[in-house]
Structures are given as C-alpha cells and as structure tokens.
C-alpha cells in the first residue's frame, strides 16, 4: 500500500444510496488471492450495463469515487477495498459509509472522505457536467477542493490520518505495546468476562 498525502484527479460518480460491497466485488471472486488484480472484478456485474459510469472512457482512469449515502454497506469483505485500490482509486467522497468498509479502507491506503450530502451532490453534478472536472483531495490540510475552486473541510480520526500519511503498519505499531498487552493478560488471567 502507498502512503496517501494529496491527490488531484477527475472523479467517477456512483450516486445511488446503499451501494453494498456485494456490488463493488461480487462474492464469486472472494476466493482470489490478494496478488490477483482485483480491479478486474470491480463492479463486475453492474458493469455489464453499457451506461454504467465505469464504462465511460473519461471515467475509467478516475482516481476518486463519488458515492451516495451508506456507501459500501453490508459485507465486511476487504476485497471491495482491494478492487477499488487495484483499479487505481485512492479516495472516495460520500456522505456516509458502511463502518467496516471505512475501517478497511484506511488500512489499505484508500481515503474515505465524509462530506455533507449537499456538497457531494454538487460534486456529482459538476462531474456529470464535465467528466474531466478535477477535484483535489488534500489529507494534511483535510480539504477537498471542487472543480469550482470551493474548498470543503472534512474530519478524519487523527490515528487514521496518520496511518494513511505514513502507510503505517498497524500491527507492527501495536506490537511496540507488547508489554502492555502481556500485563493486561497477566491481570485478567484466563478469562475476562
């Protein structure tokens, strides 16, 4: 995974609410190893429709996704993040996410930006009017700059921000606290409930 700092790209819109991870990565590709290019399976079934956004030439290389409410809800499959990442997507902008997807994203170098619905709507409208409209996502300053130059601040958990900026190996980091964990285990003994 690459560290995330700042990114300027056009964006591909998936405006519908409640797009679930079964759509992003259909279950029949769940047994593929991680080093398989998961970009191949991204929205594999929805892509069968000729007018699906990913089929538009201008949007094929977009590195930002604009999503509807509750984007990537449902199954915990991290493969949905891998599909977006392998396709080249590095940031999603949506009003809200499925919890587990948002957590999985930051552990894989994909930034899930939360912006108010009206702002996301305006970005989708701008993108539909001009598929090449450029959006900048800047993590250090926590801002999204729209094609019209308007700057929108977003919130992100400080630890998640650090994970993304440093491409932090969280497990290695946690194991620097191995002594705290061992102390906890000594204190609770075998059972803790």
């Amino acid at each position: 995974m690459d560290a995330f700092s700042t990114l300027t790209s056009n964006a591909v819109p998936f405006a519908r609410d409640n797009i679930d991870t079964d759509q992003i990565l259909p279950a029949r590709y769940l047994a593929r190893p991680r080093n398989d290019n998961h970009g191949e399976y991204l929205f594999r079934d929805l892509r069968q429709a000729a007018d699906f956004p990913l089929n538009r030439p201008e949007w094929q290389a977009a590195r930002i996704v604009l999503g509807g409410r509750n984007f990537a809800c449902g199954s915990s499959r991290e493969n949905a993040v891998w599909a977006l990442y392998d396709h080249g997507v590095r940031a999603v902008i949506a009003p809200s996410y499925g919890d587990i997807f948002a957590t999985n994203s930051v552990k894989n170098g994909l930034l899930p930006v939360v912006l108010p619905e009206a702002v996301v709507q305006s970005l989708i409208a701008a993108t539909e009017a001009d598929p090449n409209a450029q959006i900048t996502v800047d993590l250090p300053s926590q801002t999204v700059t729209g094609p019209d130059g308007a700057v929108h601040h977003f919130e992100i958990d400080p630890f998640n921000k650090r994970c993304l900026l440093e491409a932090l190996d969280e497990l290695a980091f946690t194991l620097t606290h191995a002594e705290d964990i061992a102390a906890f285990e000594r204190r609770i003994g075998r059972e803790n409930f």
Partner: protein
C-alpha cells in the same frame, strides 16, 4: 459511580490502553475464524508471526463447504476446496481448535459460537464477518472486522477502536401469532433505515425483546449490521443462562455459579444514558417481506407494492425504480401475488433448531408447489442432528423439500450454490442485495415459516392464513 450501559461495562473491562487521540486498544477474548480467512493468515506469515493466543481462537468452515457431502476431497472446484484446506492447514500450524467438515460441531460460525458455549456474556468477540453482531444476543460485545484487522487480532489479540455511540431500541408489547424475531428486525430496519444505526452499538430492550427465545435474539442481533449497527446486544437473563448451561465451553460447577453472578451485573444500569433512543410498538408488527434490494425495503406481507413515481425524493425515486426493474415488480401489486421459483431456509439468521421447527410446522402434511425447488439447510451439524432426532427431516422430505448438510449455502453462494438469472427466491437469510444469491437472482427476505408457506403455496403467502 456513574451509571453505565452494558456496552460501556464491557468496553471498559477490555481496555488495554488508550491514546490521547481517542483510540482505544481493546483485548479480544474470543476470535472466531471461518474458511474465508486465508488472506489474514497470509498477512501474518508475511511478517513471520504466529497467532498470539491460539487458545482463544476457534475455527469452522462454512462459506465454501458443499451441502451435499462432508468430504473435503470431493469438492470439485479447486478454489472452494483450497479455502477449506487452507483453514485446516492454518489451524494445524497455528495450534487452534478447528471444527472441521466431519466434526459433529461444524456449522456456520455464528451458529456454532453460541451453540458450543464459546460465546458468553461480557465477552469481547470478533470474527472476520459482518454478521458477528449475532453473538451480542448473549450479552457479549461482538462485531465483524476486515481481513487486515483479523491479522491484527491474530498477531496481537487486540484491536484499535474508537468508542462508538450507543442506541437503545425498545420494543414493548406482545408479538402477534405468526410474528417472529425476523419480522421484528425487518420492521426495525424498515423504520430506522439501512444506515439508521451507523456509528452505534445497539442494545435491544423492552418486553417484546425479553420475551424472545435465545434463538430469536440471535436472529435479531444478526441483522443489526443490516441497520448499519456496529453491534447489537441483549442483556443476559434467565433465558441466556438456561441456554448456556451445560454447553461444551460454558463454565461448569462453581465456575458456573460465579460466572452467572458476574453476568447478572452486566445489564445496563437503570439510569444509564444512551446517545439515542428509539421506541417501537411490538403489538403493531406484522409478518414482514422485503421487496427491494436493501433490507430496509420491507413491508407487511399483506401490503401492496409502492409506486416509485410517487416517491418525492428524486434519489429515492431512482433507487426504487432500479430495484423495481431488477426485481421485476409492478407498482401497486400485492406482495402475495409474487410467485417464487426457489425457497432457501437456512443461514446464520434463521438456521437454528427453532427455525427448522417453525418451517416444519408449515410443511407438515403439505407439498412443495409444482415447479418450486425448496431447500432446508441447517445452520450447523448439531442443528441437523437435533432436527433429525425430532423427525423434522422426514416432514421436509415428505413435503418435497431437500434436506441438506450444514453451511452458508445459498445465503451467499460462495460454495457455488446459487440461483439462475431471473429466479425469484423466498429466503430466510439476511441480504436481498442485487446478485447476492447469483447474478440476476431476485431475493425476498422473510421468516422461516413464511418461506415454508411460500414453498407450499408457490407464491408469497401470509402465514396468518395457514394453520401450523
């Protein structure tokens, strides 16, 4: 002392350390693992690590197992067989317990945990699967995690979490005949929406909830994730203790008495404050059926389909139009007018013994309608044995249902058991997403009795019109 919710009591007891930025390192008591977890073991191996606390890990294959044989070598598809075999290998290398395909305890991980007594009140339990919320039915804090987090738990027995908010959903009243836990949770999701509980841990309370059996509470908590909830919980009580006592991994003797005493203290304090409260009337709940591609698209079975054109919000209208097209629906038609091609009774939502009994009560003395294929897939090997001891398999077989081996089966179809495009399926599982049961397949969620009724009638049917 300040009043605490059950969630806060469990959370506080599992804090290893807290960072200034609000992240908490939590200790994991139980880690359940299934046959889709291979990538996590790969991540661990890449770092030269082994599972830190194998005695806290329990595994069983469910997602990739066939439901017509118990022989791993007989799985023809290399990918599926590979997933089951890699779990066996990881268990052997990691030194943790595996309830394999021929073990009498195998089953869907969320059926197996409570059934084996592995899930206990007050525990922090995780699994790399979103329906881990199921286990909260026993008063545990249980939630699903992704593969990187699974690797993190394997390697450190801990997890970084930011404290979620708390939501209490109170359902008071008496459930009408024919109304089950499945109808209660579909009603809740229809009321608060598929993202209604995002960012929250749900505690279910009220007389209608307390009146549910353990099986019913498991069904209820299972679908918390379908409302966006991180977890769902029910306070442990006599129902919980009676269910757990004597199970393989439950405490025994004096340990049991001490445990029950601790568990009694877990319930939320009377004056504990929740971040949000939702109150629903249990008396008003009818048997529910979903019509669309989100579990929030649920209606009482005797309702008419809505008209997408009448939806005032343009986004909602577009979503409804897409769902109507995919599901092959006509605005204004009666839900009961929808014919079904297949029926699937099973899954971690409704694959327990009570579900088998409820479906069998409808199947008894009836026949599956001409042209309908109906499957009953027990959630675990013990459920299957128990059902057979009660003669339920004979009732199903005599009625023309197929009686299969335990596994996830058609809930997700990762073992290859899927429908064909355009088929309409009455299912007792938890997701009616597009393509969930196969590309182009149309899924309607409902309770086991309702699914059995759909099988014998050949169309969606109001259970209240049938005598059990």
């Amino acid at each position: 002392m300040t009043a605490e919710t059950m969630f806060e009591k469990i959370w506080n007891r599992h804090r290893v350390l807290e960072r200034e930025d609000g992240q908490t390192l939590l200790y994991v008591d139980r880690h359940l693992v299934h046959d889709g977890s291979a990538p996590a073991f790969e991540m661990l191996r890449d770092r030269g690590l082994k599972p830190r606390a194998p005695e806290r890990i329990f595994a069983t294959p469910d997602h990739y197992v066939p439901t017509d044989t118990r022989d791993v070598a007989a799985i023809e598809n290399d990918e599926y067989r590979g997933m089951v075999e890699s779990l066996e290998q990881n268990a052997a290398e990691g030194g943790f317990a595996l309830f394999g395909l021929k073990d009498g305890r195998q089953g869907i991980v969320h059926v197996v945990g409570p059934e084996a007594g592995l899930t206990q009140p007050g525990m922090l339990l995780v699994c790399g699967d979103s329906h881990t919320s199921t286990h909260g039915a026993l008063g545990a804090l249980a939630f699903g995690i992704g593969m990187t987090e699974v690797a993190h738990v394997l390697g450190s027995q801990t997890l970084w979490q930011r404290k979620p908010k708390t939501l209490r959903i109170t359902v008071d009243g008496a459930l009408a005949p024919g109304v089950t836990a499945k109808d209660v949770i579909l009603h809740i999701i229809a009321s608060i929406g598929a993202a209604g509980a995002t960012g929250y841990v749900i505690e279910y309370a009220g007389s209608a909830i307390r009146g549910l059996s353990m099986e019913g509470r498991l069904t209820l908590c299972n679908m918390s994730i379908e409302a966006g909830g991180r977890a769902g919980m029910v306070a442990p009580d006599e129902t919980t203790f009676a269910y757990l006592q004597g199970r393989e991994y439950a405490p025994k003797g004096a340990d049991w008495d001490r445990a029950v005493e601790r568990w009694r203290a877990l319930a939320s304090d009377a004056d504990a404050v929740f971040d949000r409260d939702v109150v629903l009337d249990g008396n008003a709940i009818a048997p529910m059926v979903t019509w669309g591609n989100s579990p929030e698209d649920a209606l009482p079975v005797d309702a008419m389909l809505p008209d997408p054109e009448a939806a005032p919000d343009p986004a909602r209208r577009a979503a409804m139009q897409a769902a109507f097209a995919y599901m092959g629906l006509t605005p204004g038609a009666a839900l009961t007018s929808l014919g079904v091609d297949r029926v699937f009774i099973g899954s971690c939502t409704n694959g327990r013994i009570e579900d088998m009994r409820a479906a069998a009560a409808i199947a008894r003395g009836r026949r599956v309608a001409e042209g309908v294929t109906a499957w009953v897939v027990p959630g675990s090997a013990p459920v299957k044995r128990q059902a057979e001891a009660e003669g339920l398999d004979q009732i199903f077989l005599a009625a023309g249902f197929e009686w299969r081996e335990a596994g996830c089966s058609m809930c997700l179809g990762t073992n290859g058991e899927i429908g064909t495009p355009g088929q309409r399926i009455a299912a007792t599982s938890n997701r009616n997403f597009r393509g969930r049961q196969g590309p182009g397949v149309r899924t309607h969620l409902m309770s086991p009795a309702m699914a059995a009724a759909a099988a014998v009638a050949g169309h969606i049917t109001d259970i209240r019109g049938l005598e059990g």
